[in-house]
């Protein structure tokens, strides 16, 4: 469908357009958004994301294909932003279309859970006190 790593602001509508089809009665979307509280409840001004795109994009495609084979036929699109992001900006956008909603909900959750564990992308928290730290994701399903 559509798999993308970009420095530009994400456009969720373009993911909806990529997955919609006359066969699909449901589209589930997930947006990851930069929030104020970082690790240890330290407030951040924003985040910086970095990727290894040559590996991350194939891994994103593999996750999308797995989601479709595990839960039922689904059309998947994933976009991840890199670079500097301010509070409230969208870091990751996922859209999943399927014939009925149950498959789309399950597949969308699978995609974000797997992305956090398997896709080589990193996040640096820029705290308000001026410190920064690369923060890894927690164990599965966190």
């Amino acid at each position: 469908m559509k798999y993308e790593i970009t420095r530009e602001p994400l456009d969720p509508q373009s993911l909806l357009d990529a997955v919609r089809s006359d066969e699909c009665g449901a589209i589930v979307t997930f947006l990851g958004v930069v929030r104020v509280m970082g690790d240890g409840d330290r407030p951040v001004d924003g985040l910086a994301y970095e990727a290894y795109p040559e590996m991350a994009l194939p891994e994103m495609r593999a996750i999308g294909a797995e989601a479709s084979s595990r839960f039922g036929e689904a059309r998947v699109a994933i976009a991840h932003r890199i670079g500097d992001l301010a509070l409230g900006e969208v870091s990751v956008a996922i859209a999943v279309a399927s014939k009925h909603r149950a498959v789309a909900f399950d597949a969308c959750e699978y995609v974000i859970d797997e992305l956090k564990q398997r896709v080589p992308i990193w996040k640096r928290e820029n705290y308000r006190d001026g410190e920064t730290r690369w923060r890894p994701n927690a164990s599965p399903h966190a």
Binding site: E50, P58, V92, I121, W122, K123, R124, W134
Partner: protein, 81 residues
């Protein structure tokens, strides 16, 4: 042989550059390459347990043999999403 090591995030900050060429003996493994890098940058030793390795875009174990021209990525824990 020479392999190109790609570094990311906290590891890139320790090494000070996004890629670095290592000269290794024939038959060297991915773990040998990591040890060579950690020898040069002792701060890496503390994160050896959480670092994953990939050769030419595919995850590998430390026991995998490297070849001339390989691209070895050293990957700290992921934080995407």
């Amino acid at each position: 042989m020479r392999v190109r090591v790609l570094t990311f995030a906290g590891i890139r900050e320790i090494v000070g550059e996004p890629s670095r060429t290592l000269a290794l003996p024939e038959g060297a493994t991915a773990a040998d390459a990591w040890n060579a890098l950690a020898g040069e940058f002792p701060a890496l030793a503390a994160i050896a347990g959480s670092t994953r390795l990939a050769r030419n875009g595919a995850f590998i174990d430390g026991s995998a043999a490297l070849r001339e021209g390989d691209e070895l990525a050293v990957l700290p824990p992921f934080g995407g999403g």
